[in-house]
């Protein structure tokens, strides 16, 4: 088997965050690969939901768009888009929202709208789509993205989807009482949303106003300098850094077969 790529570490590590009992609202791209890998390995009963209205979908290949025919053909049921956002997302029935981003900050706020000024953008990005309400209404948010100084920035140009707001704020400042971003999985590391005392979001004493994403695990072969060099803010590392467990042969074979099937059918 060929060497494990950083992106494979990312997808496998992201997949491992998901559990059988999760009801997961899946973003397209990197999140979609991770969610389907989880379903094809350790979480066969996981409920995957795409914003096109497909509930408990079990595609054999990765969809190119959030509304590919396979998602409907393999779904338990397909509902209208208003129903999806009203009953299922706003109704509080989603346990995990899995999102990517063009830009993110250390507080887990996401930008998918513009690079530069909104009225005179350098790059007009696609926009929020379902993400602004997924970010606030799914009970917990996982984020996955490849690290680069362009993506991991000190200050995002536009706040499309709320993480924990600015330092000094919390989600409660905006009337949001779901957990928000708790974990970030990249091609180099796993990050947790921790306050300065190392408390997690689920801890009743968690201090949201001062929390940020902290590196808790480095993928094998990755150094602290690699992480620091691809992030636009001063990185905090956990006192006891873990090494991310290597993907198992089953995870790797399943992921590669999934990508191969997807490439063949596109």
């Amino acid at each position: 088997m060929t060497a494990i790529s950083p992106k494979e570490y990312m997808t496998v590590s992201a997949a491992r965050l998901l559990r059988n009992e999760d009801v997961c609202f899946v973003g397209i791209g990197a999140p979609s690969a991770a969610c389907n890998l989880a379903r094809l390995t350790h979480a066969p009963e996981i409920t995957l939901i795409y914003e096109s209205g497909t509930i408990a979908t079990t595609p054999d290949r990765l969809p190119l768009s959030i509304g590919d025919g396979d998602l409907h053909d393999t779904a338990l049921t397909t509902v209208s888009v208003p129903e999806m956002f009203q009953y299922w997302l706003q109704g509080g029935r989603i346990s995990i929202g899995f999102l990517g981003a063009a830009q993110l900050d250390r507080r887990g706020n996401l930008n998918t709208t513009v690079i530069g000024d909104y009225d005179a953008p350098k790059v007009r990005l696609p926009g929020g789509g379902g993400a602004p309400e997924i970010a606030t209404q799914a009970r917990e948010i996982f984020i996955t993205a490849e690290q680069s100084k362009r993506t991991f920035v000190d200050k995002i140009d536009f706040l499309t989807s709320l993480g924990h707001g600015q330092f000094g704020e919390s989600r409660g400042t905006f009337g949001v009482h779901t957990k928000g971003p708790t974990r970030l999985v990249t091609d180099l590391a796993i990050w947790d949303m921790l306050d300065p005392e190392g408390r997690k979001v689920c801890d009743p004493d968690f201090q949201a106003q001062t929390a940020e994403f902290v590196v808790v695990s480095l993928h094998p072969g990755v150094t602290r300098d690699d992480v620091v060099g691809s992030v636009g803010w001063t990185v905090r590392f956990a006192p006891h850094l873990e090494v991310t467990p290597t993907p198992t042969p089953l995870e790797l074979e399943t992921l590669r077969a999934l990508h191969a099937r997807s490439a063949n059918s596109q």
Binding site: L64, G67, H72, T78, V81, Q86, Q90, Y118, K122, G129
Partner: protein, 283 residues
């Protein structure tokens, strides 16, 4: 009452400069053939409404048919950015494009409100996002029972909604299978609704394995029906043809250059009227 007509007549009779038009279909059943007829007829100054502008509005914006776009996700699904929309927003080519930008939840609720004949949609949304700073149509109301502050956006009431569906019967009743998106809401919210279909059957009630719970639009809710096989390509029609993912990827190359885009429009839209529409449903 529904009128069976050619696509060119349906557009000529119902679409005019300066209208607000919603062409819906959430990745699935996108009414491309109808949009191409709008381009051929040279309609201008449109307000284009659509959750996911997709390639269909990239083409309409690229030929300069629109002055404003109301949307919530303007990407080429699975392939990246919409280059014609970008060029209009970033450089004003071929003309400036005003944006009214929402989230999916907001637009879905706004269509729902339009279909329900309400003035606005109330929902829990837009919390903490900068979108509220750039769109004056995002406001809030206080729930009179709980005092919860809720987002409020105006109902979407298009002058014209255009959708594509799998089939209609000879009484003009329309059936949609698969990912149904917001098509039903968009049709019921509009003043005029045009539906292109893959197939015209005698009677939806008489279909084998028929299911009255599938998405049905009764004929008296639809203004015009046009028989346009492959009318959603390069998107797809469940039960008829798959999404042309290669074209979606290829579109990134075609649309990234103004001249290449115009040449494509010339060859595939202007010089290629598909509207020798099969008229077997016309009476």
């Amino acid at each position: 009452m529904t009128r069976f007509t050619t696509l060119s007549d349906a557009i000529r009779d119902n679409v005019s400069n300066g209208q607000s038009i919603a062409m819906e279909g959430f990745t699935h059943l996108i009414p491309f053939a109808a949009a191409h007829e709008v381009i051929r007829q040279g309609v201008e100054g449109l307000t284009l409404i659509r959750m996911t502008p997709d390639i269909i509005y990239d083409q309409l914006v690229g030929v300069g048919a629109a002055r404003k776009m109301v949307f919530s996700y303007a990407g080429n699904p699975g392939a990246g950015l919409l280059h014609r929309v970008r060029d209009a927003v970033e450089n004003g080519w071929p003309r400036a494009l005003e944006l009214e930008e929402h989230s999916h939840a907001a637009m879905a609720n706004a269509y729902h409100a339009g279909a329900a004949n309400l003035p606005s949609a109330v929902f829990r949304g837009y919390r903490g996002t900068d979108l509220t700073n750039v769109n004056r149509n995002i406001k809030s109301v206080i729930c009179p029972f709980t005092n919860e502050k809720l987002a409020c956006v105006p109902a979407i009431r298009p002058d014209v909604t255009i959708i594509h569906a799998q089939r209609a019967d000879r009484n003009g009743n329309v059936q949609i299978d698969g990912i149904v998106g917001v098509q039903k809401e968009a049709v019921l919210a509009a003043n005029v609704a045009i539906v292109t279909v893959e197939e015209i059957v005698d009677d939806l009630r008489a279909l084998p394995n028929r299911n009255a719970n599938t998405c049905i639009l009764p004929g008296w809710c639809v203004t015009a029906i046009c028989h346009v096989p492959m009318g959603a390509a390069p998107s797809y029609a469940t039960g008829y043809y798959p999404r042309d993912n290669d074209f979606y990827l290829e579109w990134s190359r075609i649309s990234s250059d103004r001249d290449r885009f115009l040449a494509w429009i010339e060859e595939h839209v202007l010089a290629h009227p598909v509207d020798a529409s099969v008229q077997e449903g016309a009476r």
